[in-house]
């Protein structure tokens, strides 16, 4: 294992120390339990938006904390759900009296631990994110996994909360994003978890795992590594068929790197996806391209499509200032 770390058991703690140092005016990072909160929180009368999950997917979720997006994120150990006390501590820090929206990726451990925390909190709503069309159940999941759409849910619900929407409205908008978003990913290589020390699986040099999960969970199938056009089509077709997305739809296209894929390849894949969508009569009106939902050093990409309406588009466009996503402020 080649990693720039000290004690593998301390990776998340050590990384949070660096995150705090890098963003002193933006973030308030507390320990025992670990919470990354927006330094400006709580805001009286504003719905607090909280998410979290296993570490190793950065910038998800800690990189999305700040005005216009998350009030707090709860980083678990690598690929491990945050504990209920992290979620309770986050809520205690950022609740401004207008309720707490919990945005939870649909993994069994995450769902359970956020549910347990919610039992101790007043005035919360939970929205589950399950946008991955690849498989119905998986290693860590009953139902579909939550992947790329998480970024879009966090941005749009966070913008609504920042604009003064009430808890029901924020939850309804988050549910609308989940309902209108679909994703699928593929991997060329496996991630290596620091405290494990070896790759999570073995993928032959000439094969790709199509439908991979963000922890390296198995996808739909392994197939020969062909060219980018075939790979992008293999992700996009199941996404389009599922909602379905149809001619005339206006969409946000999110081309995500799993971490280790060069930006050169990522933009190349994005260009192919844009061409395939144009050929179907689907209009891309917003884009996001970059490593936003990663799996440590895994090489691979995922595509996420979100059907937009004017209200969602305005919330997407609203100003945001986080470590990983920033515009208008």
């Amino acid at each position: 294992m080649k990693k720039i770390i000290n004690n593998p058991a301390d990776v998340v703690t050590d990384a949070l120390r660096g995150l705090a140092a890098a963003h002193p005016a933006l973030l308030r990072v507390t320990r025992d339990p670990a919470v990354v909160a927006w330094a400006g929180s709580p805001v009286a009368g504003k719905v607090a938006v909280i998410s979290g999950g296993g570490s190793g997917h950065e910038p998800l979720h800690t990189g999305f904390v700040g005005p216009g997006m998350l009030d707090a994120a709860c980083p678990g150990a690598v690929f491990t759900s945050p504990t209920p006390d992290q979620v309770q501590a986050a809520a205690a820090q950022v609740d401004g009296g207008a309720g707490v929206l919990l945005l939870v990726k649909n993994y069994t451990g995450d769902v359970l631990n956020f549910e347990t925390a919610a039992e101790f909190l007043d005035n919360t709503r939970t929205v589950l994110i399950d946008d991955d069309v690849a498989v119905q159940d998986s290693s860590f999941t009953a139902g579909r996994r939550g992947v790329g759409a998480t970024v879009l849910v966090e941005k749009i619900a966070g913008a609504a909360a920042a604009a003064g929407a009430d808890l029901d409205t924020c939850a309804r908008l988050a549910e609308a994003v989940v309902a209108g978003a679909r994703s699928m990913g593929l991997a060329l290589t496996a991630p290596t978890v620091p405290h494990v020390g070896s790759p999570s699986f073995v993928l032959p040099e000439d094969e790709v795992e199509v439908g991979i999960g963000i922890h390296g969970e198995p996808g739909r199938r392994r197939e020969p590594l062909t060219d980018a056009s075939a790979l992008v089509a293999a992700l996009l077709e199941p996404i389009l068929d599922d909602l379905p997305f149809v001619a005339g739809d206006e969409v946000l296209l999110f081309t995500n790197s799993m971490g280790g894929t060069p930006l050169l390849e990522l933009y190349l894949a994005h260009g192919i996806a844009e061409e395939l969508l144009a050929a179907r009569g689907i209009t891309v009106i917003r884009r996001l391209v970059g490593p936003y939902v990663t799996s440590l050093d895994m090489q691979g990409i995922s595509l996420t499509l979100l059907r937009l309406d004017p209200a969602l588009t305005d919330l997407w466009d609203a100003p945001v200032h986080t470590a990983a996503l920033r515009w208008g402020m």
Copy 2:
């Protein structure tokens, strides 16, 4: 070789198509020769700022085109200098009549080709960037290599040009950044160039190359892969000794990923660097953390320190809107 590409010979062209699709309102991408220009250029009376270099280092330079930073970037083939006609075409597109500032990383091919182009252009100034303290000469370089400081030079000179500074002032500020910035990097793995198809070098599983170049050029030495604290110190000490940086200095600390390094490790390294600087009495007042000057899929990091004064700090803070760096707009 596992890559998400079509024909290896077309990688740059295909990626530029994706870049254009991803940023239709921001960028104007032209071909034959390849130029990525800000869609708002030329701006009458504004100094035009142009950079460029081999592809494979994205987001450098194409991801830094936009208001407040570069007017145009000239992307060469992978790890290959742009041609003089690319630079001339870029200047023809973005010259607003107030002169053209060429920002050139100190690699022999880049220097030669930008010089050749400049002979055919009126009213240009060229600033060479050579911030890498690792080695004096290298595979592609006479003198020191240009690495991480490039982002800082492009941001600060771009901000000055946007604020209406004349060509001499923009060049003087770019030179001030070069004079006050020092960098060094290390690699855990080698990059794989698409048209080559195999890693650029072989690094044993338990070794790290300290002082690596961004094309995988040899560094100062190979040494056993130890822990993050030792690795960060091995980069920071030569940087501090070189300028030298001393107690009381106020600096920008740029912790850069070479591409394949997870953000978790990058923030961990950043935290260590902050602590080492604090112990020296050097105050970090600005930070940049992320994959900004990469070497395809290479795992590794580099550190760049820039000594700040109030003028440079204000220019760093000025609004910018590019694909990879954005704030305030």
